[in-house]
């Protein structure tokens, strides 16, 4: 569990309030925190009420409060993309976004890709093409590749390389990742 992120306990809402002194002074938009603040996150089609401090990143809230540990934190500064998730339809680094600023936007994590007990085609292609070694960067890479295919069912090699250009993989799986997605792009009938 990360500091500042925890599951939402029943009846604790009353403890969490805005700072009345600050709000009186500004007579403006509410001042929240620095203690935990109630928010609602929409993750993988489910709605989760949570308590988070303003400093809690989305990656920390996902992994800590919600137990969605498929999203990995590696560099924690937006330089490796291991923590990639979808914010609505955009791939973003969840370590570089605060949970409190997500608002009504939909979050999709690696746990939300499989549907009806079946892996997402990108996950199947990663397995078929041995695009995984240690696996730490893999959830992020899968999120980038699935987002690419959602917007462009038949990407070429250069487009795939651009789509995964933010990811660091110390095992060097890049060529197998590109092969996996190229195979998928060719196989798609539409």
């Amino acid at each position: 569990m990360f500091p500042g992120a925890r599951a939402f306990p029943e009846g604790e809402l009353t403890l969490m309030k805005e700072d009345p002194q600050e709000n009186e002074k500004s007579a403006a938009a509410s001042v929240l925190g620095p203690g935990a603040v109630p928010i609602v996150l929409r993750v993988n089609g489910e709605t989760h009420p949570l308590l988070v401090e303003p400093r809690t990143t989305l990656a920390e809230a996902l992994r800590g409060s919600l137990g969605l540990t498929g999203t990995k934190i590696a560099c924690n500064q937006g330089a490796c993309s291991a923590c990639s998730v979808w914010l609505d339809d955009l791939v973003v680094a969840s370590c570089s976004i605060l949970a409190i600023e997500v608002g009504e936007r939909r979050i999709t994590t690696i746990e939300g890709l499989a549907a009806g007990g079946r892996l997402h085609p990108v996950q199947e292609a990663f397995i078929a093409h041995d695009a995984v070694q240690c696996g730490f960067c893999t959830p992020g890479l899968v999120m980038s590749c699935a987002a690419l295919l959602a917007g462009n069912p038949h990407p070429g090699e250069a487009e795939i390389q651009t789509a995964i250009s933010g990811h660091l993989c110390r095992c060097g799986t890049y060529p197998h990742v590109v092969q996996a997605i190229l195979a998928l792009a060719d196989a798609k009938g539409d």
């Binding site: 500042g4 700072d19 600050e22 500004s26 403006a28 938009a29 509410s30 001042v31 929240l32 925190g33 620095p34 203690g35 603040v37 401090e53 303003p54 400093r55 990143t57 924690n76 500064q77 937006g78 330089a79 993309s81 990639s84 914010l87 955009l90 791939v91 973003v92 680094a93 570089s96 976004i97 605060l98 409190i100 600023e101 608002g103 980038s144 390389q161 651009t162 789509a163 250009s165 933010g166 990811h167």
Partner: protein, 350 residues
């Protein structure tokens, strides 16, 4: 990251009234004292702000979030054919904008080469222009450097391979913005909203501050001012532009050297105007005036492009470890001038 308060601004004016310091001011500390948790700072995409906060380089009492303000988003064509880019427009939106890719190709190219897809989806143009430099001594909490209010620049005797080769007296940061190189080549202006409600437009050239003028800031933004938009003046229809950079990694990396070139050619192929701006080599985007003068009124060919590349180096004062940037720049300028004029690269010269 230290705890802080959160406030979502409902308008740019409200944010301007709430914010007490610029990020640069909040990073200034006396020798050896940790930064006090007093400032109320503005946050847009938050990419750089969260980095600085995680490193403990800035420790605000409160963040005022402007990232959801609709009036600061988007690209619009204004009455006189100027383009207005809202400060919260993301680098990804700029890179993908069909109109910009036509009329301001170098800007779209520069935005596409900055950072990673994940960061481009969040990083705003305003935040990109206002991010703090990437000098590793500035970014290290263990080094109390000149730019943070200390008494010493560590780069001169230290590892200065990525530092400035122009205007590097006293402090040798390079300006970290990739789009800024292209924006300056298009003579862009920034729109600033004052806490009292006035708006002013400042040419980008006058917005940036060199170390010799003030070591503690990269721009003239005042406390409480909000950068609300970037304006691009109308372009001559026939303008051609290109942005090129060299970096250690092609996938995504900070450039070692970069150039944006805009040329206006007349029907006879004569260069009416040349705008040549260098990136990652000076504390601000660096206009190569001698190279511009050399091309103005000239025919662009392999010879004049090569001469422009050499002229772009005028006034350089490289440090112990970064003289390698000189040939990189000369080559980039030559290639960019030829490409902007849609001429083939001369294989004998490369």
């Amino acid at each position: 990251m230290e705890a802080f308060q959160w406030q979502q601004a409902r308008s740019p004016a409200e944010a301007a009234a709430l914010v007490t310091q610029t990020t640069a001011e909040a990073m200034l500390t006396l020798q050896g004292t940790p930064s006090a948790q007093q400032a109320i700072l503005v946050k847009a995409g938050g990419v750089d702000m969260l980095d600085l906060m995680k490193e403990g380089l800035v420790n605000p009492r409160r963040l005022v979030d402007i990232s959801r303000l609709a009036e600061l988003q988007g690209i619009s064509r204004e009455g006189d054919d100027s383009l207005r880019i809202g400060a919260l427009t993301t680098l990804a939106q700029i890179a993908a904008h069909p109109g910009l890719r036509q009329s301001h190709a170098a800007l779209a190219q520069a935005a596409a080469m900055a950072a990673s897809p994940q960061i481009r989806n969040r990083a705003t143009l305003g935040g990109n222009l206002l991010q703090r430099p990437r000098c590793w001594y500035l970014r290290s909490a263990a080094h109390h450097c000149l730019r943070k209010g200390g008494g010493h620049c560590f780069a001169f005797a230290g590892d200065n391979r990525y530092h400035a080769i122009f205007a590097n007296h006293g402090c040798a940061i390079v300006h970290p913005s990739t789009p800024a190189t292209a924006l300056l080549a298009f003579h862009a202006q920034v729109e600033l909203l004052h806490p009292q409600g006035q708006r002013r437009q400042v040419p980008l050239e006058d917005f940036f501050v060199l170390p010799e003028a003030d070591m503690h800031r990269e721009n003239i933004l005042a406390a409480g001012e909000i950068l609300t938009a970037v304006w691009l003046p109308p372009q001559i229809q026939t303008n051609r532009s290109i942005y090129l950079q060299v970096a250690e990694r092609e996938a995504f990396d900070w450039p070692l050297a970069a150039v944006a070139v805009v040329v206006d050619l007349d029907a006879a192929g004569l260069c009416q105007r040349a705008s040549i701006v260098l990136g990652a080599v000076a504390p601000a985007p660096w206009r190569a005036r001698q190279a511009e003068a050399l091309l103005t009124g000239a025919t662009i060919n392999g010879k004049t492009a090569e001469a422009a590349g050499e002229a772009a180096l005028a006034g350089a004062t490289p440090l112990a470890q970064n003289a390698y940037k000189l040939p990189l720049l000369a080559t980039l300028v030559r290639r960019a001038v030829l490409a902007a004029a849609a001429l083939p690269q001369d294989p004998r010269a490369s």
